[in-house]
């Protein structure tokens, strides 16, 4: 907090003090706005922080004098209502951005089908307990328990937004991820409960160190973006399985090979499971998981 930029006796400061303590009527608000335009180095919250800090001091003294627990928690049901309203409110403040979809190659059909074997040629390692837990939790949730409350797509993240990540083929994707990386984890798609993924093969390629990757699809049903879009969710066993990280929305216009970049804004250091659902255009904050297209578990 910087020093005050106007004299304490300036009428602007009285308006700010009034606002911080009893509020202003419409005329007061107008006067304040006009004065703030004349003094752009003065903040609207200039004295609100001071009032808040002092109020915290009073509050702690009062609750202590009443021998009450300092800031006892609110009722559980109220907390639940407050919690449910959070992400839609945040979405209004920072709207979910459409990622623009993948760069689909028209050369899909001429591109040699890449092997789905692991780059190293090794078979997938046995599941660790952590991965097993995450799968059990995730698939139980997919099966019918309360589910996904998402992270949020970043203006700079999400599938398809990064020009530097856009590639046409799996080979290119692997090359981009593997450059300088110790290891690229992969996971083959398996179908979910929705017809869009019934004929889909392909895999997830994931560079955990760089927190980016690609989804490679073959045979995923093309979508009409005006009706529905695909949405990616990433599960990390070290996060609560009810709150996967949102990986972005994307479109598919070909049943050939489609490669979609993944660049989530929130960190998923132990990403283990990737799930693609079908949602309304623009995506959702809370999925009802009624349409799970495909899912993949990363092999370690």
């Amino acid at each position: 907090m910087t020093r005050l930029q106007v004299s304490g006796e300036h009428p602007l400061m009285q308006l700010l003090a009034d606002r911080a303590t009893e509020g202003l009527d419409a005329a007061g608000e107008q006067s304040l706005k006009a004065m703030l335009r004349e003094h752009p180095d003065v903040s609207l919250d200039e004295l609100d922080f001071a009032a808040a800090a002092l109020d915290l001091a009073f509050l702690s003294a009062a609750e202590s004098a009443r021998d009450e627990q300092l800031f006892a928690p609110m009722p559980a049901e109220l907390r639940q209502r407050v919690s449910s309203a959070a992400l839609p409110a945040i979405a209004v403040a920072a709207p979910l951005r459409h990622t623009g979809g993948p760069r689909e190659t028209q050369a899909m059909d001429r591109t040699p089908r890449e092997s789905l074997s692991l780059p190293s040629g090794r078979r997938p390692a046995p599941r660790s307990a952590a991965i097993a837990w995450s799968l059990a939790a995730v698939f139980a949730l997919l099966a019918g328990a309360a589910w996904l409350v998402p992270g949020v797509i970043s203006p700079r993240g999400g599938a398809g937004t990064s020009n530097t990540l856009a590639v046409a083929t799996r080979a290119e994707a692997l090359a981009k991820l593997a450059a300088g990386a110790k290891k690229v984890a992969t996971g083959a798609w398996s179908p979910g409960n929705d017809a869009t993924g019934a004929a889909c093969t392909g895999e997830v390629l994931w560079n955990a160190a760089e927190q980016r990757g690609y989804m490679v699809f073959r045979g995923l049903k093309p979508n009409d973006p005006k009706i529905e879009q695909y949405q990616l969710w990433i599960f990390d066993p070290e996060r609560d399985a009810r709150f996967p990280v949102h990986g972005g929305v994307f479109n598919v216009t070909s049943t050939g090979e489609v490669v979609v970049p993944i660049e989530p804004r929130l960190g998923v250091p132990k990403a283990a499971v990737f799930v693609v659902t079908v949602e309304r255009p623009g995506g959702v904050w809370v999925s009802d998981r009624s349409r799970v297209s495909v899912k993949a578990e990363l092999a370690s």
């Binding site: 907090m1 020093r3 005050l4 304490g8 400061m13 009285q14 003090a17 009034d18 911080a20 303590t21 009893e22 509020g23 919250d45 004295l47 609100d48 922080f49 001071a50 009032a51 808040a52 800090a53 002092l54 109020d55 915290l56 001091a57 009073f58 509050l59 702690s60 003294a61 009062a62 202590s64 004098a65 009443r66 300092l70 800031f71 006892a72 928690p73 609110m74 109220l78 907390r79 407050v82 919690s83 309203a85 959070a86 992400l87 409110a89 945040i90 979405a91 403040a93 920072a94 998402p150 992270g151 949020v152 970043s154 609560d240 009810r242 709150f243 949102h246 804004r265 929130l266 960190g267």
Partner: protein
């Protein structure tokens, strides 16, 4: 990728939303119950406050204030607006008794946040009449006109006391080097203030 709770809330991290409720839900509930007519009114207020907080979370700047103070500021903003619209009388008699008789202590205030402790110390440096006006205004939520009636002071004097008092507190907060230093226990202000409960968790 870890930021403050509010910064992560602004990113849409639902886990951060839960942490925010864990850490600040009680604070907001306490503020709401003090200013609202009844429990139902307080519950409505809490919902509105958190909506404001979710929408404002991207505005939070750790260089300006700690998260607890920011949350309290958002809460007060909403409660003042509701109070103006409702024009209801809360149980001011109870509040009046409390505020006239409780001892504001920097040490106790430090349990909440270092800024509260600094505000409490700044308050101690004000004249008794000015302290009383601030107590009636900030804690009891009385309008300046009502304070003038209660104390017998001219309205202009009340307004001056509020303004100058808040400016003094603001100056005390601005003199602090970094809102986070106190939370980490290595305060460069040399205040010797213990880690606050709300800020302690931020450092862990």
């Amino acid at each position: 990728m870890q930021g403050s709770i509010l910064q992560r809330v602004a990113s849409g991290d639902q886990m951060a939303v839960q942490e925010c409720l864990d850490r600040f839900g009680g604070l907001v509930w306490s503020l709401a119950r003090r200013f609202c007519y009844n429990l139902a009114d307080a519950e409505d207020a809490v919902q509105e406050i958190f909506l404001d907080l979710w929408r404002s979370s991207a505005r939070y700047d750790p260089n300006v204030a700690t998260e607890a103070t920011f949350v309290a500021m958002i809460a007060r903003r909403r409660l003042i607006d509701r109070g103006r619209k409702a024009q209801r009388e809360v149980d001011k008699a109870r509040l009046a008794h409390e505020i006239e008789h409780i001892e504001v202590s920097p040490t106790r205030a430090a349990e909440v946040t270092e800024e509260a402790a600094m505000a409490a110390r700044a308050l101690e440096g004000l004249k008794p009449e000015q302290q009383r006006v601030l107590r009636l205004s900030i804690y009891q939520g009385l309008s300046h006109e009502k304070i003038a009636e209660t104390t017998g002071l001219p309205l202009g004097t009340v307004k001056t006391h509020v303004r100058r008092g808040l400016i003094r507190i603001r100056e005390a907060l601005a003199a602090r080097e970094d809102p986070r230093d106190g939370a980490n226990g290595d305060s460069s202000t040399g205040s010797g203030v213990d880690k606050s409960a709300l800020d302690k968790e931020a450092a862990s």
